[in-house]
Every structure is written in C-alpha cells, then in structure tokens.
Amino acid sequence: MTNLNGKAYAMNAITPMKPWKTPLLKLLFWILGAVKPLQKDLKNLSFIHFARWVCVGRNSFPRLSDEQPAEELKYDYLIFFSNFNGTWNQYIDAFSAVLYHGLDAIWIWSEKYPGSRPVTEFKRYISLVQFDTDYYYNVYPHSATNDVKAALRVQDALAKFARTSQSLSVGEFGRAWLEFQVTVAPDLGTTGIAPVGT
C-alpha cells in the first residue's frame, strides 16, 4: 500500500470549487490561522504530523512551455494533503465526531460536499475525491506524532536533569532522580510497527 509508510498515511484529496467561492475560503483560512482554534484542536487530536490545503486556481496550473496546452477549466481546485496516524476509518471517524465544524467550514465551498455528518456519506465523498500516493517517505516510520511529542518532552527533561545532576550529592541525586522519573513516566511508550491498515 503506497499510501502508508510506517505509522503515517499520506492522503491526497482534490475537490472542485466555483471560482467565486475561492476568496471566501482563503478568508476563512486566514481567520482560522489568525484566531488559532483550529490549530489547537488539531494539536489536541494529535493525529496529524503535517497537513496542508492549497488552492489551485483554474488559471494557475503551472505551464512551462508553449507546447504544453493551457488548461481550460471552469472550477478552481482545493487540494488537501495530510500525513496522519491511525487507519483511514479511524481518522475520518475522529474528525467527523469532534472536528466537524472545522471540516464543514473548509469543504462547504467544494461542489457536492455532503457535510462531515453523517459519517458514512462523508466517507463515500472522500473515497471519491481521494487519489493515491505513488511514493511516500517518512523519516521516522516507527513514530507517530504522539511518540515524537513524547520524545521531545523526555529529551528536554533529560537535558535539564543532566545539567544539574552531576554536581549533586548522593542523597540529593536520589531525590532528583525520583522527581525526574515522575516527570518522564507518562512519555515512555515504545515505538515500532503500526497496526495493519483497515
């Protein structure tokens, strides 16, 4: 399955938009970026390494030579790229269950978008507009974004502890080591192979 590399899934989706709607979508994204609620929810959901939306206007498909025919399109296209953890079903279930407002706000401008609820209809639409990845590279295939964040917290805690620990007396070290363990204990999950895609 070329959409998968380790714990990451590469989803690509393209949806058509009537050109007059594109500036509205861009304004919405600007608001979402400035006000930051979408980012907070995405971080808390903790499913996605990186995601992006690009609007390719009907006249903006790159044309590199005169021999290349110019595109003649009625619609602008919203292309969505996600690098997420978990299975396809799990991912969409999660978004439909808890981030449906954000999803709807983004895709309502796309033609025939059915809404993110009910989820079965939503999954049908995604299947229609999703296209597969031919080649996918993942620098840390054994690590989900949760693993990465946990590791960074551990690294920071260790750096801090290492700086102070060597100069401590034995008794002080014993206490400091215990406190250190308490701090890092939630973040010690093993990394490894992802479950089978479903």
Binding site: R175, A185, G189, G192
Partner: protein
Amino acid sequence: MTKIDVSDIQGFALKGYNFPHARYLLLELGEAPAARALLRKLLEVVTTGERWEINNKPMSTVNVAFTYKGLVRLGLPLASLLSFPLEFQQGMLARGDILGDSGKNGPEHWDRVWREDGVHAWLAVNARSPEALQERTGDLLQMMTDTNGARVLQPQDACAISIAGKFSTQEHFGYTDGFGNPDFKGAERDCVPGQGKLTETGTWEALATGEFLLGYADEAGELSMAPIPHLLGRNGTFMVYRKLHQNVATFRAYLDEKQRQYGGGKEKLAAKFVGRWRDGTPLELSPDQPDRTIVADNERNTNFTYGDDLSGTRCPVGAHIRRVHPRDAFGFHGGLVNRRRIMRRGLTYGEFVPEGQPVSDRDERGIIFMALNASIFRQFEFVQQQWIEYGNDAHQGNDKDFLLGNHEGKGRFVIQGTTDPQNPPFICGGLPNFVELRGGDYFFMPSLTALAMIATNTVDPR
C-alpha cells in the same frame, strides 16, 4: 425516549443473566430443511429480553447465534448474505492480522473446533444449577436428534468461580470483574453512573441504542450496517466470542517477582495493571487501598473520570480499564470514545486455584469472552487493534495492554507515579503472554422475528 420491544430481542443481548453455570454448544448445522426444523423448535424455548418477575426467574435460559457459514447453511438468499458486514462474512479467523491473533494467539494454538473454522451456530444454556444445566442441555440435544438439524462439534462449559462457598464475579487472576458495562437507551436496567457516556455537564447518560442493537440510531445518528431485509437485522446484534486462556502460573510468578521491587506492595502493583484493586475498587476513587464500601455501591463503583489524573499518577495511563473505556481521557467530550463501547458477557471456565497453591499454565482455565455490539469492525475490532494490541491513543506508543496484549516476552508496561515511596513510577518489562487466545468467531444474534423468518425460510430476497 427509545422504546424497544423486549419480547423480540434475545435476552442475552439485553441483559447479563448472572447465572453461575453455562454451556455453549458449538454446532454444525445439518441440511437446510433439517436445520430450519430445529430452529422452529428452538423458537419455542429461546429466552427473550422480557423482564422476569421477582420470584419467577427461570432455572435456565436458551439463546442462539450464527456464524456467516451457519447462515449460508440455513439457506438465506444470496442478496441477504452479501448484505452482512464484511468482517462478519469473513469470520474471526480471517481477521487475524487486524486482531493481532498471531504467534501464541495464532490459530495453530486454537482448540480444534475453532481452528477448523466450521462452527455454524452457538447455542447457549445459562443455568442456576448444574441440574438445570443438564436438563436443559438434554432437551436441546433431543431436539437435535429429533430433527437431525445439527450436531454438537464441541460443548464449552463455563462456571463462575466460587469463593468461600459463594459464586463471585472474580476471574482466575484474582480480579473482580463485571463493572463498566455500557448502558444504552431503552434497556431496562437503571443507568449506572460511569457506564454510559459523559455529558458536557459531567453527568452520565445512556448511549444510543444503535450502538448495541441493529435497526436503531447509533451515536453518530446513523443506522449501523445491517443485513437486508430490514426485519432480518432489526433487534439483532453481533457477538464476538473469544476463548481466552489464562496463564495463571505465569501471572502469579510475574507479580511475585516485580512486587519485590515495587514500593507500593503486591496488591497495589496488581491494581496498577488493571486500574482497579483486585476487589474492584477503582484506583481513581481510592488510590491507596481497596474500599469495600465503594465496591458495594453501584452509584460509586464505576463513577469516576480521569480528567484530574491525566498524568496517570493514580491510575496508570495504560492500565486495562483506562485503555478499554477511556471516559474523558481523550477530551472532546467523549466524542472519540462513545462509538467504541462493547457490551461484555463473559464467564470463567476451568477450575479455580487459590493463591499459594500450585497451579500450571497448561491447565484449562480462563474466560469465555463474549462481546455484543452493532458493528464488530467499528467497536470490538477497533478496541482490540488500537487500544489492546497498540497504545497510541493512550499515548503509550506501541505498548500493549498488560493483561491481554500479545507480548511474546518483550512487552512493557509503565506505571506513572509520584515522589511518594508508596506510589513510585515503575516499569514492568519483559512481559510474557498472560492470556492466550484459544479460538472463537463472529456471530449474528437474530431477533425472534428474524429467527422465525429464517426458520420458516421466508427471508425475502431483494
């Protein structure tokens, strides 16, 4: 307010009978006409969900469910058969990759009856006494003989563990089980706080009926995929059956070894694995010692959340009950949890050996685990794959569930803690398989109406 027709739903799907004895007859069905004749006889004795009067409980109950192969044998129309969910059509053995049923849990270790993947039906007797069990089984066997409708491939007996002369809900590792079964709308029993779903105000309410019964709206406001025609699926449900062998000797040895290093002592360590003290007291409510008064009080014994314990210092983040019922631990008002609940109806099997007495992993003992849900894929399989055999949602990476995980000697369980020497952080490594799968399958438990349609060969194809 959902009104469900309890006389149409099999009792096993609606309530736990709490009878101490059970026999699960695993059947191979005869030719379709004979098998249907057997079903017609069974229809007269199948136990429904109707309420029992106080002094009028039956001495035994009968319930029945079918695998996909069983429905094929019964001659259901092709269009109906193909309309069943994919995972049910494939059966549990074929779904091994998703469930992690490999290595020690692989089919080569299963009981022959499951390995051969030929079970058509599960015919279950639950009884209040061994005599009632025998009598009812005798009746059923007679029906099979009279109609030639089925033969028993294997009977599986189960029996609650008796402690000091009384039947208990304890299992072989010593944990008291039976808490936290989900409440759903329309079920007759009172909603117990902690068993349903959390509302935004912090109270508990019953889950949507459609999470556990087909034909009703589920938590996403949809109908779970159900077979056609509508009446075939309505008031039915899907059941997952798994025979879980317990390696009691291995468990006791592991606990004994690790508790020597653990500052909180043996019972606390055992509690940390699961999230409840072995008597059932939840760690979240009583982190320092078990408390009988909490256990005995239904308003309290499962009424807690993890919101104040996100770092797992009371109940470890990867503890068993926290993995399978995260409550508010994921935030988002339970939206990521409410469609992942399963209804459990397990019963222990095999002889119980009290602590301190010699015991062997090779003896037959464990739990017959049965889970009921409207969608095996979305509910049971998800919990098994993502929350038991994996730990990402619990922020524990690849770490598996301590008790059920397929560890193969390499598992790890981290216990979070505090600077209190009685509650230190602690890492349990080198986890072996405490539980091993000995087989099972996926079953469809039809309503009484559907059973009658199947029995009279009146399922209308479309």
